[in-house]
Symmetry: none
Subunit: 428 residues, 2 copies
């Protein structure tokens, strides 16, 4: 967790956030920007646009926190209550603030708008409040100190909040005279679950340094491992933890930062001047789509085939009718011919082929829903493997597409060791 | 706004939410689902994975609310604290819950996984708690009544929460013996922006009935229009509003409920016993992937081609070298040959082809980033159109893939009128 010297709370207001019509991304933005200068938020409360509720929450926060950031309720309409609430909590009245009026006037002039009564409301601020400049919107932010607590009021419009946070964070950091100590090292992994990773670490590491906070962020398909330190003096310990994780998880670590599997594969292909093609049945174009979502993918990806039916597997990829009738579409033999066919049709250097049963229908006793054959390789050698991953259709497609990309990544890196998920999910 | 008889609070937990690494969309989901049965949330509090903080908040909530929904902290790792906190607040111990163990065992068996110690933690629940079934994840939910307050604990993984909310909401609604008065009619649209839709309604409707609440939920690619009534007596007014919207927006309305463009297209194809093929350049497999994400898509979608390079456009789809060199890959002529080639290679009845410049690189003065040619049609007639939609790469791909599907939908429905986005975004 971040530095806990400064006790920070957030108060979010808005009926649209309470009803769920709007997902609140502002509080994440505020927390991230504060986190970058080592200021952690330990509590946030969200309530609708209700005077009594807002006043109760703000009073409780001011009594316990060093810093409260209020977000929302600065607009021109009657349900924008923040200035009124802050004035009441501080026991002062609302006054027309000359700087806020000047800002409004300028904002309207620039847009050829006339300043109307509704807008004027935005210049009525608690007596004694000082302005926080809003470079993009009509409503200024404002702040005041109540007892031991500083309260900063910010606009709910995300673009205005973003424009304002830089100054707010800089001012806070300068006030705190904070050395830039906090640092998060992120490792991206594929093929590890949160509980497995936690278990492996618990089983193998008895002396994890206290100054390095270990965190997981499970996602589909990747899981992020975070090593957070609050102080530059812990950098060596952080690097040591990183080495420990690399020893424990080896090639399940894709890379550092925010790297994704398709990015990693495309980068490895580019380094080798090589290209990749895809032959997809049950993933239905998802592998191609994951690759082509990345800018510059056209350097290494030129052709993808979605061959859903048996007839198309034959006519487009040259899979033989005999193979299909003898082994069925979800088989090692078919996926091998699909991989080879895609190489032939595309002139690519590397290939991925996938055929499986995504469900919910189509499963049999022999090949239940979740069964999938993967093939990957180059012109010399095509590898194959069967997995069984019986989860909901769209998650199945995501995990299988990622597994296919992960195997190409391993091939390009010359990793011989099998990933854990083959042992766990391997069907034969 | 929702019915306020029942006082509901949410307690969200997770360091990743506090730090801003994850944007909390769960609380919006919970509020929305509760709102649909007339239950409003009036306060939510978010804290990190900290025993003391969680306990303070939960105790305060239990003392003032009728219902508390806790989200997060059910996982297998040491920072998952919800069961422990609830037990402490209730003054009971944690016990191995037989149903939770059985659920875990079954979950692992299905996936060929061995039950590990970390997983077992998820079956240790407060004594007296009852289980809330989790159809997709390893951690069950649980609930118990503390004094006058019911506490329901739900998982932080969004897919698991979604799978669980249906039952929770149904049970709550049944317990409240709420008359089924509240009703939300949802219309899915494509090609309309929120402000445009609002303007069209304001300009054309002067007598909108007060008992029908009009709401918008803008998404990519679709926008939802909601007509909410709180009382069954307003049903006729709701249906009248629906007719008004159908008159105003016509064929920009895809359908009712949660229908998506690929679902609508697949259903229309199935009704006609027809099939569709795709030839994608800049959308890179996204159209195929959107279609094949839908269960049963194999009935009407058998073949898709991702032809990113010129060479592949020639070899796989039979686009002529002359057309490519004379007109360039992003041209009416090329996209028309791509569409025809895909029909020929696949024996499908309908075809979609897309070629454009997704960016950020590759734009020219003549064909800036965001320029795209679409072709769609059948063996009789292929239609073409150029759009310019200069937004971020992945949003561009999403909107263009949806536009392509929307045009097939219009063709299948025999709609001759052009969609609004051609007038707004049409490049020539």
């Amino acid at each position: 967790m971040a530095d806990s010297e400064l006790k920070v709370q957030l108060l979010l207001t808005g009926n649209e956030i309470m009803s769920g019509d709007t997902v609140d991304s502002n509080s994440a933005l505020i927390a991230q920007r504060l986190g970058e200068v080592g200021i952690g938020v330990y509590r946030k409360v969200t309530v609708g646009d209700d005077v009594a509720l807002l006043q109760t929450e703000l009073a409780a926060m001011v009594a316990t926190a060093d810093l409260v950031i209020v977000n929302g309720g600065l607009g021109p309409t009657i349900d924008d209550l923040t200035a009124e609430i802050l004035a009441a909590t501080a026991g002062v009245s609302l006054q027309e603030h000359p700087q806020a009026v000047a800002h409004l006037q300028q904002w309207c002039n620039k847009r050829n708008l006339e300043l109307n009564a509704a807008n004027f409301k935005q210049a009525m601020l608690p007596a004694g409040a000082s302005i926080v400049d809003n470079p993009v919107g009509s409503a200024v932010g404002f702040e005041m100190v109540l007892g031991d607590c500083r309260v900063i009021c910010t606009p709910g419009v995300p673009s205005e909040l973003i424009a304002m946070m830089g100054d707010i964070v800089d001012t806070l950091a300068a006030r705190l005279q904070r050395p830039p100590g906090r640092n998060i090292l992120r490792l991206q992994t594929f093929g590890l679950g949160e509980s497995t990773a936690q278990q492996i670490i618990s089983d193998n590491v008895t002396d994890w340094p206290q100054e390095v906070d270990l965190g997981f962020r499970a996602g589909a398909p990747q899981m992020e491992i975070k090593l957070t330190i609050d102080n530059a003096a812990a950098t060596a310990a952080q690097q040591q933890c990183r080495k420990t994780l690399e020893q424990l998880f080896g090639d399940h670590i894709i890379g550092e930062g925010a790297v994704t599997l398709p990015q990693s594969v495309l980068q490895l292909l580019r380094q080798r001047g090589a290209s990749l093609t895809t032959a997809e049945s049950c993933t239905g174009g998802l592998i191609a789509s994951m690759l082509t979502r990345i800018p510059g993918s056209s350097d290494s990806f030129h052709a993808g085939f979605v061959t859903y039916s048996n007839a198309i597997k034959q006519s487009v990829l040259g899979v033989s009718e005999k193979t299909l009738s003898e082994h069925g579409a979800v088989s090692e033999e078919v996926v091998r011919e699909m991989a080879g066919g895609a190489l032939k049709r595309s002139a690519a250097d590397y290939t991925i082929a996938v055929s499986g049963i995504a469900g919910p229908g189509g499963g049999t006793a022999d090949k239940p829903v979740g069964t999938v054959w993967l093939a990957w390789g180059d012109r010399e050698h095509i590898r194959t493997r069967c997995l069984c991953w019986p989860v909901e259709r769209s998650l199945f497609q995501t995990m299988i597409a990622a597994s296919a990309l992960d195997n190409v990544r391993r091939l390009l890196l010359g990793i011989d060791e099998e990933p854990r998920y083959f042992a766990q999910r391997g069907a034969r």
